[in-house]
Subunit: 458 residues, 4 copies
């Protein structure tokens, strides 16, 4: 494109180097913003007409032209020129070609600095909406599974060592809680982002009599930004969004880690359906949990985008600097990655088959009710520290003798503490252990069912 | 410490390796949590008594013992044993030494997994409170400075090129907006964190009849956590806090970047008082803006802590794993770093002297009112794109002739566009340019003053 | 694609879910490896024939088929099937379609685990070669500019405060040194990466009598990997490459930061040609240093990729896990980004015009020869600390009086220290200051010219 | 400290704010550099005397004073003044107090900018040396264990699914390879860092006739830096070191991940001695692999330091800026963390007990010799892809029938492929599978023993 034809060509005596055009162009990725860009421009044009800055006729021509371009873009028939620097110019140039002079009036009182701020906010608003729906679906998937598997027993782990028996449902609802926090974080991010930036112009506001509140109303923003300099400099919302997305990924990565573990031959707690696994090109017997592995791996990718965004912003002089153009690719890829992971994980959850026997057998191992014995002693008046020591010695004895707690006789127990009585045997089984944990947030079945009811009652 | 004396020694036949003790010990940094730990233990003991799990007398002894330990720790006279693994054991061991058997009952129904979750939440709740106060002070400092410098003109920059004149006050208030968002983020983080974890025990809840809501009330938590597995696995709040802190640092780093620039001989916009600068060990003439440089540099440090925290959490199997112990040092250093930076920056703002003449002179350079000429043409009906082109050519002409816009005659203007008239000269000066930007969020003095009033009216 | 047709379909009873296929597919980005993949397969096939595992005729058919596919891919006419999981299968499936049964023998003794390790190493080996050439060109561009501007004086800065005069050439050669270290790092990375992985198979090596050294020879690798488990688990080279690339970006970002500063109206040291800048859509007078800003911004992107890669690898169980598939996009984008930045920066260096007068004037400001006065005193026997104090007071006096060092009389100097004599005036000018710094690595013109000669003599 | 007494106080009219002193002080952490600082100063003083810049007597007094200070610091009796800004001033001030005027001559021709560059390089040179020794010990520990466990069979995993049998020794030697690459990276880093910076002074070199090569010789540096501006700006070596350390941590984290897995009840492959584990404060039966968990967690910490360092350097204007002071804490903590982890891991390796029966039993599961059957078919002339399909169907049949490969009769095999004969049974066992993998880098025992011999022969 000849520089003179550039939107900013007047002052330049030399055309832009082709290599520079290629290097600075963002059209290949920011074209994704076309719908937001056009939506924003239509609102801007309507406001310009309302304020008498352009005529009603001009505004009508602009809006019609923009809608035509939108239709072509939706249909994939719009002829993009690689020479256009960015999506804004691609649209404005096409508009002017089609409707002539009025097209040149669209950019009145506007800079690409506030225009791109608007586009990203519109874009992210939509995408956060979409993500909230997907997180909601994932939560539902966990909830449904919890309901379905409610009676199923699982060994709870700390340090990946068997700790205490829990309900599988309780475990699954832990993820419900995490994703509920993620939802809250996304909503908070949305709230801070949902403010209308147009009118900040390049950085100082404009001398033309724009009505920013009207544009906000048209675009369904509850407020307008309060400081033009901040408006064009600000990418907090982008960083905050990628951070919220990073925690979504982190939570998924923890479930996926467990899924990979539980799919091993050694744990054997779960089987992922063939449809959700893949095989090996060399080992005919393999069935690999690729989906959870990839989700886990993709966490790194989103973390990387967060670091990219934060690095770009650190120590950047005010106000707009071209460095900010680098916000979009990490943002877009975060949106794509997290949405894809949320979708596939929610789908996969429906294709898991738990091996209830192995889970229950697992829960019995590792002296998992030792704490119950200690709590039994506490209720007998033994200080907890002492009780802990007594049970530790019992476990040690069992290991040496190759026995389990349920395999000891009362007399054997009594050699460690005289006060043991028959009641003790009420607390040695996995089911009894679980049933006892009725404290709020505990794993007793009635407590878990109450939590499910609470969630559903919302 | 002999393993048999360890809180968990019963099951072990071999003492812990000294090197392992040193490697796993956290006492040298988690002792900072002593106040929170004791506060939590007192609430726990009161609840145990209320529930009849310990006697009233035992609870009184426990609380008295803990208060004595607290007093010694506050006074710096508490004899820490390096053998204690962590602050929890340091306190519990001292308690048992002092009050005997009842001390061994304190840990009833509790695990270090939920205890540490409580301690960090209490700690962070305090520190976020402190940070909110500091961010508030920094906002006030910006506001006061904006009021004091309200009429002062500044060249606004984009791409570090002179763009349009703005008021210094408008620039300063941009930071007010940023820190206001930071406050909101910290408050949202606090809201999600301010939930009582005790009672989750190791991971499954406890079989003892604890009253978690009572503990929450004693410790002023509005709610209790809903899932014990999530409770001991969760460090979302730590990551979210460090992220919020990262944006606080980022915002400060941008102001500091500008301060460093403005302190150069070349810009000469601001002088930082001697008391807030340092010199060179070799160059006698130097006066360096060390404070803003260090704040800028420390941004990297807090970003690093965020990455550390996220890395630790990624792909971690449920539930508690010892990796989580690594949450504390990044957290503590983030608290210290951000608070120190907030304080020193707020203080330094009172020691800045702006060179108003240079700022105003700066604002006149770089054809900073060219956009005003374009907007003048728009109001005459020239499409903006065309107006932009005309003014671009005028600027180009000025550069060749070594002239400024105010140095051109009306006739010279008219060679570029016939319709120019005397009114043009109403929009060529810096003051006129600023005054015109009355749009909401714009830089006109009345608009800026209105924003100040709004802020103060809150 | 029906699972039965998958390379690993035999064991599966259910076809892969379409969504899973889309989620796990890497073809849209790993197709970039086609040349390396085919080159590796040809070498593998030749070795299989040499070892009698396939016949000579089969090998010929395989190689001919692969070359045909390569030609189509180069020409852009190859019909990619979106159903192919990855580039390996796309090629192998096409081969089998074309040459029949022999195609099914290509994968003998090979797994995709070692195949992809080979492909990335071949790819990166090429790209590091390309990058070394580009870093070399950039170094040359700095060297040429240093030669051209050799006599030009620049104010050296520390803390962005004027410190001491230096030669512009000396400043430019500092970047030569940085990029020379980058070259060395890239070469070290290449050295460690240039080892042949094929033959590790899935993880254990193969029972077939492969000749790994022959494959290495065909593909110009100086060695073969020594442990099959390490071979399929290892992505050190990817992380190391992205790290080396991060430092390349960091070095460019520092030069770009200075370019942006020097392009300001306030510094005015350099003008970037119109062809390498762009304008504003709203402000007709703007000429923005977009290229250096974008390079600076893109540094964040590459840092992000480094974090992504490191996050993926941390705590990954041995050996190959699907998470490793996520190595490629950060790697590819790093290659593209760094190469594009290196090219454009080298080109831009030829389009800089330095304003020598302003640079020299700048160097005179800020009492930049104060250290010279201190060193003069040292040569008179005054302890350096004392000398530093004396000159500090002289500078302080000058600031109060609005004078410069060259503006003081000998008598004025003598009020601060009696021993000043006429010789003092030999060290007050910028040129004298520079000329004095003849220590190795110093900024004296003869020293700088000697360094240039040394570099060229290499 | 009164500003007038500061090394740079002469020019200042106002004392430094106490808060600023506290904020900018680095003494609490850079005191760790005392030995390097003194070693560097002694060399500097000897050179000053040799060049006639100070007298021999002065140099002697300086060196004696420095040695006295060193002795006190080593003994912990040196009276540090918190008012000293940094370790350089702490030492220089003490020196001047003790030896009077000559002390003020030590800083002649030197700036803290090149002094700190020297100190860090000396410090890191030592610490890299120490780290190389520790990595060497860790490699030896893996090698010894590999020798001890040479015949032991392990299930090899990909995707954490059983893949193929391997030798435990082969697995262990994979880590030997990783740490050997780490060693090479550390050595390359050392090579680039081992260049003498003193003489660069503030940034421009000095006008005094220093002999930099002599200082380099005294301090055992093979070369001096070639550009003074680069010298004071450069922290490449710090970033490169932390990166090399990050990969060391990453490699340890992968072994630790496997150790944690293998210590589970479910895998049961390894028992970590009591001395290297800890228990639970609530669950009496627990024995937790805290050490590997902590090493894994600490990986995040070192990654964080890398990000901190890179963030600090990005876009930093030339030359020295105070931001660079923030290099030290990440650097020091990286040194401490990595060395502690290397030591404890090497020690722990001697306290592992492998459960050889479970490992061998594990290796038999999961149809781990399926690939051997496919390779058997290949040797019979069946194209690999076809062979893979046949074996896949056999495995599928076994799963349905609840059989293993060794449990099938020849006739059953023949229903899938007629050509199966008795020889097949030569390749179905774990031992046969391992023995077959004699390709270089493969897991056959003779191949592994050959590699051990190679390593020991070095």
């Amino acid at each position: 494109m000849k520089t003179q034809e550039k939107p900013w060509g007047g002052r330049f005596s030399e055309p832009t180097d082709r290599q520079v055009e290629a290097f600075t162009s963002s059209l290949h990725y920011d074209r994704r913003l076309y719908r937001c860009d056009i939506e924003g421009s239509i609102a801007h044009a309507r406001m310009l007409a309302r304020q008498g800055i352009v005529t009603k006729g001009e505004a009508r021509a602009i809006c019609a032209g923009l809608r035509e371009i939108l239709a072509e873009m939706e249909a994939g028939t719009f002829p993009f020129h690689p020479d256009d620097e960015d999506i804004h110019m691609a649209i404005e140039n096409a508009l002017t070609e089609r409707i002539g002079g009025a097209g040149g009036k669209l950019h009145t009182g506007r800079s690409r600095n506030d225009q791109i701020a608007l586009d990203i906010r519109l874009y992210l608003r939509d995408e956060i909406g979409r993500m909230l729906a997907l997180v909601g679906s994932l939560k539902s998937a966990f909830l449904e599974l919890a309901k379905k598997e409610c009676g199923v027993v699982l060994s709870g782990y700390t340090h990946l060592q068997k700790a205490q028996p829990v309900l599988l449902a309780h475990y699954l609802l832990a993820f419900w809680e995490m994703f509920a926090r993620d939802e809250a974080r996304l909503r908070d991010c949305l709230k801070r982002m949902n403010v209308m930036p147009l009118g900040a112009a390049a950085l100082a506001g404009t001398g033309l009599p724009l009505d920013r509140r009207y544009v906000a109303r048209l675009l369904r923003f509850p407020a307008v930004t309060a400081n033009s300099i901040d408006t064009v400099s600000d990418r907090d919302f982008a960083a905050e969004f990628i951070f919220a997305a990073s925690l979504v990924m982190m939570h998924m990565s923890r479930f996926c880690e467990d899924l990979v573990l539980w799919s091993t031959d050694e744990f054997g707690y779960v089987e992922i359906a063939d449809a959700f696994t893949t095989g090996s090109s060399i080992m005919p017997q393999k069935k690999n949990p690729d989906v959870p592995e990839l989700i886990r791996g993709k966490t790194g990718r989103v973390y990387g985008h967060l670091v990219a965004m934060l690095t770009i912003l650190k120590g950047l002089p005010m106000t707009y600097n071209r460095d900010l153009q680098e916000d979009k690719e990490p943002l877009f890829d975060t949106v794509d990655t997290v949405q894809a992971c949320l979708k596939i994980l929610a789908a996969m959850i429906g294709h898991l088959t738990f091996n209830r026997e192995r889970m229950e057998a697992g829960a019995k191992g590792g002296f998992s009710t030792a704490t119950d014995v200690a709590e039994y002693l506490v209720m007998k008046g033994v200080p907890f520290r002492e009780a802990h020591g007594i049970v530790g010695r019992i476990v040690s004895f069992c290991i040496q003798q190759g026995k389990t707690l349920t395999g000891l006789t009362l007399m054997e127990f009594q050699t460690f503490y005289k006060g043991f009585d028959e009641e003790l045997f009420q607390c040695l089984t996995v089911r009894q252990s679980i049933q006892a944990r009725r404290v709020i947030g505990g794993t007793a079945e009635e407590t878990v069912r109450r939590r499910i009811a609470e969630i559903e009652g919302r």
